[in-house]
């Protein structure tokens, strides 16, 4: 009786195996190609990766192997873990925040691309040009215009009791957006930032672990205000055709985050890598901006109308990366102490 089952099980086992094998035949040709590490959402079907790689391959004849390497912070970790056996030629997506750590690992070469002349100087975050800016955004509070008629214009406004349990914030210990908010308060209040965090507590509905859950709660209508990006409304306009969700600028300015790309010292295809970086800073700019829902760095890019819904920060605030590296742990400890009280 059991024998009958065994054949059945074996049959069931081999059918998927056959399908599995079939899917594996699309192996790329083994010409020398550029290996590019990027964060996962860049690489995904919904990210800019697939389209720009195709365009680049057609234009230059250089094959590109785009590799997903998890979230932003993981990129650098991966490069460090792979130091003894490096695979990547180009890395895409290390932010200005991690400049100090990137210097310390000494992984990248300096490359002053031609394209930099079209990029405004406030975005040149790496004076050594090991990381070149390709994409940037500003953190902002996004509000639900059905519930909020007068959006807050400053951190002080957010302390108003009328916002009781109305804010969704994000934890800086587990998310870059959360870290951005913490740094933004530091950029605005300097030494006094903890006072704001103490005072805002009654107005906070929850502090989510990441942008995804925080923004998910917000669009679900749990609270009318969430920390996100100035560019967030663009998505809703372009994909859902609704103007319901809007971003508010703060008078003090909004913290900026710049994503950089760089070429690895270990690369054996430096020239091709430079060509790819140039492409990233010029022809690929529109595709990246639209798919990432962020601003392009290149001033010459003509943006779709939906970008009118993303107000430009005035000014874009940045903390010094040395300062960030030095105090990050201390800030997080103090923050945890105050917020979990």
């Amino acid at each position: 009786m059991l024998k009958r089952y065994i054949y059945l099980i074996l049959a069931l086992f081999f059918i998927p195996l056959a399908l599995f094998g079939r899917g594996a035949k699309e192996e790329p040709a083994t010409t020398a190609y550029l290996t590019v590490y990027a964060y996962d959402s860049f690489v995904s079907e919904w990210g800019p990766g697939p389209a720009i790689v195709k365009e680049f391959e057609q234009k230059s004849g250089i094959k590109v192997n785009l590799v997903s390497s998890g979230t932003g912070g993981q990129l650098l970790t991966r490069l460090v873990l792979e130091k003894s056996k490096p695979k990547a030629d180009v890395v895409i997506g290390i932010t200005n925040e991690l400049l100090h750590e990137t210097y310390a690992e000494d992984l990248l070469i300096s490359y002053e691309s031609e394209a930099l002349k079209d990029i405004p100087s406030f975005l040149h975050f790496d004076p050594k040009y090991t990381l070149l800016p390709f994409n940037y955004g500003n953190y902002a509070f996004v509000y639900d215009s059905q519930k909020v008629k007068e959006p807050p214009k400053s951190f002080d406004d957010l302390l108003d009791p009328k916002w009781k349990k109305s804010l969704i914030l994000i934890d800086p210990r587990t998310s870059n957006v959360g870290m951005g908010l913490l740094q933004w308060t530091i950029a605005v209040y300097k030494e006094e930032y903890l006072k704001w965090w103490e005072a805002v507590k009654p107005n906070v509905l929850t502090i989510a672990d990441g942008w995804s859950s925080g923004y998910g709660l917000f669009t679900q209508g749990e609270a009318p205000l969430v920390i996100s990006y100035t560019t967030s409304p663009i998505y809703h306009i372009m994909n859902e055709g609704t103007e319901r969700y809007q971003a508010t600028l703060f008078d003090s300015g909004n913290l900026g985050v710049i994503e950089g790309a760089g070429i690895l010292k270990s690369s054996k295809n430096i020239e091709q890598a430079k060509e790819f970086i140039d492409f990233l800073l010029t022809d690929a700019q529109l595709e990246i901006a639209v798919a990432n829902v962020m601003y392009p760095v290149n001033e010459k890019v003509e943006l779709p109308d939906a970008f009118d819904w993303a107000p430009k920060a005035n000014p874009s605030l940045f903390l010094d990366s040395e300062e960030i590296a030095q105090f990050r742990d201390k800030w997080l400890n103090e923050w945890t102490e105050v917020v979990s009280r």
Binding site: F20, T77, S212
Partner: protein, 575 residues
């Protein structure tokens, strides 16, 4: 040799000397060692590397001295304990009903209750918020019914919400493990006690409950370990950093501070704590393990149609409760997948748009033909392979563990449980190392993903099969050997058929766990390998929550079907 209950000592020298039982555990041990232990040890040794790259214990000492570490450890243990107790308490009445009565919709309950288990935790959070949230479906319904201005139920963003979400996520494990075991307990002791005049409650307390301890402990350990490393649910639904677990701290060090050494030392601490707990559990489990005679479920001893009204009412209440509790948040996900803004002002209405986009029948700028369909197929294949291999390996390992007692097999059992005791952030780093070392080809990286899934699901499969295996009386094995069968034949034709029910449950669980797995797949696979959870993760990351819910709905459907079919197979309705 020491004599134990059931008497392994007298079970014959054939069993002890048989090479069959000695080697059957080897494949799973090897796989665990290569894919899990080696990279893990490599990462963990970083805990002992000082600033000047030499060996130091100072990092570990410093950590052990920090009162903050102990505070979060205490809280981590506390919330995991409460969550476990609550999950078991919710599961027990259900397990009783499932094991002892037959009623309409029974199979459906079993199938549905397991679904939360396969969902990525971010979808669980979303589902909870959509249903129980301040502007969730439940509150909207109540506000409409009673014409209220304010949402009446403020359940979320408290500690209670965390426990509820943990229970939602985990009680299905307890329900499945306990009821599978319970169904096959011979009723003769109960009958004897009844004949002797014992009350039903006394029988339950003194006969049934003690015999149920093995599956209860088994389920508790799994649930405890799950909650121990809880992360998103705790932070979001708990309302923020007041509720911090060790896992959050490990994440913070590894990902935000890029302090791998610090993350490794914290992880070491949590592994030690978990190993002690699991060790205690395995030890207790052995003390209380009885050899029972399994009754084959085909014999339908349990099929009892209850005439009493009280039981009918109880069944009804439990059904209503579990539907609300489990179906509510699941329904929330389904609901969201069918809604979209329909006006510029953002009013929402019914739509099939997300499904059309996923399956490529409507072309939108950001969708690609058939992404979801191919991911669906791929996920299915991976889950099938992984759960099959996992089942084979774990069954072989169980067979070895049953036939061997003593310190060696205790450490082997602990070893097999390890993947559950280690933080997923640390495991993720381990996978990075593996893929860098092996530098797999296209096909190789797929095989690696399947094997990683095998490692991840093995503790579950083992915990489902092993208690059942231990229940098989050695006298069956002996009888078979005496009658002339060799050890191999005994394994295939005597032991395996007795395990049928547990094997099916284990397979279904393994399948569910694998089809919902995200972390390892994301790290190990090259970007062409796209599974359902990866698409869900990517959709959510690019604002498309409704699309993610649509895929979540598909995941829910697949798992409901798999569990439903497994129940049918178990009962012999499909042969």
């Amino acid at each position: 040799m020491k004599l134990r209950k059931g008497g392994i000592a007298d079970s014959g020298s054939i069993l002890q000397s048989s090479s069959f039982y000695k080697i059957v555990g080897t494949p799973s041990v090897l796989l665990l060692a290569l894919l899990f232990m080696v990279p893990l040890l490599f990462i963990l040794t970083k805990a002992f590397v000082g600033e000047d790259k030499t060996f130091t214990l100072s990092r570990v000492f410093l950590l052990a001295k920090d009162p903050y570490t102990w505070r979060i450890l205490r809280f981590t243990l506390f919330q995991a304990f409460i969550s476990t107790v609550v999950s078991i308490l919710i599961a027990l009445p259900g397990a009783y009903l499932l094991a002892n009565y037959t009623f309409l919709g029974k199979k459906l309950i079993k199938a549905i209750s397991v679904i939360p288990f396969v969902l990525p935790s971010i979808l669980v959070v979303l589902g909870f918020v959509i249903f129980y949230g301040n502007s969730g479906l439940l509150n909207q319904l109540l506000m409409a019914l009673f014409k209220l201005e304010e949402p009446p139920l403020k359940i979320l963003y408290t500690f209670k919400a965390v426990i509820a979400a943990h229970a939602f996520y985990n009680f299905p494990i307890a329900l499945a493990l306990i009821s599978t075991f319970w169904e096959q307990l011979p009723s003769r002791y109960n009958d004897a006690a009844m004949t002797l005049g014992a009350k039903k409650l006394t029988i339950f307390r003194t006969i049934t409950l003690p015999r149920l301890i093995p599956p209860i402990l088994s389920a508790s350990t799994l649930i405890f370990l799950f909650c121990f490393s809880s992360f998103a649910i705790l932070l979001v639904l708990g309302g923020g950093p007041r509720f911090t677990t060790l896992e959050v701290e490990i994440y913070r060090r590894a990902r935000m501070l890029l302090d791998l050494e610090g993350a490794a030392s914290l992880s070491l601490l949590s592994i030690v704590v978990n190993i002690i707990l699991v060790g205690v559990y395995i030890w207790t489990q052995r003390l209380v393990a009885h050899q029972e005679e399994i009754e084959l479920i085909d014999q339908k001893r349990l099929i009892r149609r209850e005439k009493s009204v009280l039981i009918k009412i109880l069944i009804f209440i439990y059904l209503a409760f579990s539907s609300l509790f489990v179906l509510g948040p699941l329904g929330g996900i389904v609901y969201r997948s069918f809604t979209a803004p329909v006006s510029r002002g953002g009013k929402v209405g019914f739509t099939l748009r997300w499904y059309k986009e996923l399956f490529g029948s409507s072309q939108v700028s950001s969708s690609i033909m058939g992404v979801a369909a191919s991911a669906l197929l791929l996920s299915f294949v991976i889950a099938f392979l992984a759960s099959f291999v996992g089942l084979v390996f774990s069954t072989l390992l169980s067979s070895r563990l049953r036939n061997q007692k003593g310190r060696y097999s205790l450490s082997l059992e602990l070893f097999a449980m390890l993947p559950m005791a280690v933080s997923s952030v640390i495991i993720g780093l381990g996978y990075l190392l593996i893929s860098n070392w092996l530098n797999p080809s296209h096909l190789g990286s797929r095989a690696l993903v399947v094997l990683a899934h095998v490692v991840i699901i093995s503790p579950f499969v083992l915990r489902t099969v092993l208690p059942e295996y231990r229940k098989i009386s050695f006298s069956y094995t002996q009888a078979s050997l005496t009658l002339g069968a060799n050890v191999r034949q005994t394994f295939w034709f005597v032991e395996l058929p007795l395990l049928r029910s547990a094997l099916i449950t284990a397979f279904a669980f393994g399948f569910a766990l694998s089809i919902g797995e995200l972390n390892a797949t994301l790290t190990l696979a090259d970007s062409s390998l796209v599974t359902l959870p990866i698409i869900i993760y990517r959709l959510i990351g690019s604002y498309n929550f409704a699309g993610a819910c649509a895929l979540g709905t598909i995941l829910i459907l697949i798992c409901a079907v798999v569990f439903f079919v497994s129940e049918l197979v178990k009962r012999g309705e499909i042969k």
